[in-house]
């Protein structure tokens, strides 16, 4: 099966570690993915205004590129790209009137009606490989690594594009279990990190992120696993600021789920994992557990 891969802009700039680890891991799993030869920014945020169709044009254009490449499936790694593409796809599939408006506007492109299947790598792994098989393929189980799965918002909301049950998801739990990690359940897993508020209202975002980190460590987590570059920005890159601001907040490494996947598959090189983009503690923790050399 040949599948299109939609990277998204952030994976080419600030979140290269999400892409490099995912591509190496998919290769090791025997998944043939092809990056789209032409693609544009998906818009990052799905517009909530009901009549704001111009912001649906960008993700639909990407879905048309998938169709043009002869593939019927596209996989994304960034949760925000997933959310935007999947919701645009739903709209094109189900809303006849808006579909026509958008197709008429994009008269230089072939018509589109939601023919492509949009996957996030997580549900793709679950549906196409399965957790049992993934477990068999693990070369370096993440034994003793206490990881809290952090879902954030965009993989689970709204319900019609959720990759798992929105109120009680197990997918990231099951994924981490398959890798052999000790999964730490914590209530903050579904809380919002503050997203874009980090720009307009940083206090609110830092406070939201601090609560998530404190909740995870309070439940015994040594690290967080996530799939979203913006969550990583708030929870990871802003951690130093939070630690000076909030007494008693403990350092906690943040990993992209793909980095843990790569490590568990025995891919420990720096080129694959690019831990230099993570917090320093990310590499140190794995070294201390002898998971990477």
């Amino acid at each position: 099966m040949k599948i299109s891969y939609y990277p998204g802009c952030t994976l080419k700039t600030r979140a290269k570690n999400l892409e490099t680890s995912a591509l190496a891991a998919m290769d090791a799993l025997g998944l043939e993915v092809e990056e789209l030869t032409r693609w544009n920014c998906c818009g990052a945020v799905f517009s909530l205004a009901d009549d704001d169709l111009i912001h649906i044009v960008a993700p639909v254009r990407d879905l048309i590129r998938v169709k043009e490449s002869g593939h019927d499936t596209v996989v994304t790694l960034c949760s925000m790209c997933y959310n935007t593409l999947a919701r645009a796809n739903e709209l094109m599939k189900t809303d006849e009137v808006k579909r026509k408006t958008i197709n008429d506007f994009m008269d230089e492109e072939p018509d589109y009606a939601g023919e492509v299947r949009v996957y996030h790598l997580l549900d793709f792994l679950r549906d196409e490989i399965g957790w049992d098989k993934l477990k068999e393929m693990v070369k370096k189980p993440l034994t003793d690594l206490k990881v809290a799965p952090y879902y954030g918002c965009t993989l689970l909301r709204p319900a019609d594009v959720a990759i798992d049950k929105p109120d009680n998801p197990r997918i990231l739990h099951d994924f981490l279990s398959a890798l052999g990690a000790e999964v730490i359940d914590f209530p903050g897993a579904l809380q919002c990190c503050g997203t874009y508020q980090i720009l307009g209202n940083p206090e609110a975002a830092l406070s939201a992120s601090k609560d998530i980190l404190a909740d995870a460590t309070g439940h015994g987590a040594e690290a967080l696993a996530l799939a979203c570059p913006l969550c990583d920005y708030n929870l990871g890159h802003k951690q130093d600021i939070m630690m000076t601001k909030y007494d008693g907040l403990k350092e906690v490494p943040i990993y992209y789920f793909t980095q843990l996947l790569a490590v568990a598959l025995g891919l420990s090189s720096d080129e694959v994992n690019r831990f230099d983009i993570n917090r320093e503690s990310a590499k140190q923790l794995l070294e201390s557990k002898s998971l990477i050399a």
């Binding site: 990277p7 998204g8 802009c9 080419k12 700039t13 032409r38 693609w39 544009n40 920014c41 818009g43 111009i54 912001h55 044009v57 960008a58 254009r61 506007f105 994009m106 230089e108």
Partner: protein
């Protein structure tokens, strides 16, 4: 007046109606828009440069009767069609950021900083649709948004900076200026340096060609002409290893 049998037959030009800024003119059907405008009495003091399709001074937009689409073309290259409604847009205001090239490093963030409006692109593709050079404008903007300066350089290569893209942009981007800085950064920082260029510049600096140039300057016009017409030319069919016999200046 009598006509003789051998008088050359006059070829009648077929006249067609076109509308320049809304006014109808009858013009010969084989003319370019530029020549048709001159035929109709317009005189260019701007909006015309090379007349060869490379300078980008003569961009023109037009519609055809009964067709909602906007078309574009270079006035000096596009042949008139019956009932075309046209106007030239030789210039479109677009902000060009100023920067000190000496301080640049070839990073995408530098472009983001100079042109933050880049991120206002919604991928409507109107820029690509209007481009008279068929440049995939929206695609190079998309490439830049993900920091791929080399791809932007490649995709924008045919841009002649006419500015029509900017005229259509709902995000108000000055695409053609952004593409130019991408090409400049790519050339200066992201592509291999041409080693032979360094040697050539060094040769010039050390005066290797001064004598040859001085001797040309000293020639009178006739001598210059003969020197030019008698020069050794590369044969139409020449192997890769062909070199001129007189190569003291190579």
């Amino acid at each position: 007046m009598s006509t003789t049998a051998d008088e050359t037959k006059k070829v009648e030009a077929q006249l067609i109606p076109i509308y320049i800024m809304g006014k109808q003119y009858e013009v010969p059907e084989s003319l370019t828009i530029m020549k048709a405008m001159e035929y109709s009495g317009y005189k260019y003091i701007r909006g015309c440069g090379c007349r060869g399709g490379v300078c980008g001074a003569c961009s023109t937009v037009y519609r055809k009767a009964g067709d909602y689409k906007i078309y574009s073309g270079l006035a000096c290259q596009t042949v008139v069609e019956p009932d075309m409604y046209l106007t030239q847009i030789p210039f479109y205001p677009a902000l060009r950021a100023t920067f000190n090239f000496e301080e640049m490093q070839g990073k995408p963030e530098e472009i983001f900083g100079l042109y933050p409006e880049l991120f206002r692109c919604v991928a409507c593709n109107l820029c690509t649709k209007i481009c008279p050079m068929d440049v995939e404008v929206m695609d190079y903007i998309a490439a830049l948004k993900r920091g791929d300066i080399l791809a932007a350089r490649e995709i924008s290569f045919d841009c002649i900076q006419c500015g029509l893209c900017a005229s259509r942009c709902m995000g108000e981007l000055p695409q053609y200026h952004i593409a130019q800085i991408a090409r400049r950064l790519a050339g200066a920082f992201l592509t291999p340096k041409a080693e032979h260029l360094k040697t050539m510049v060094a040769n010039i600096d050390t005066g290797r060609y001064t004598e040859g140039l001085d001797s040309l300057k000293a020639m009178d016009l006739d001598m210059l002409k003969t020197t030019y017409s008698d020069r050794e030319m590369e044969p139409a069919v020449a192997g890769d290893d062909w070199t001129p016999k007189e190569n003291s200046n190579l």
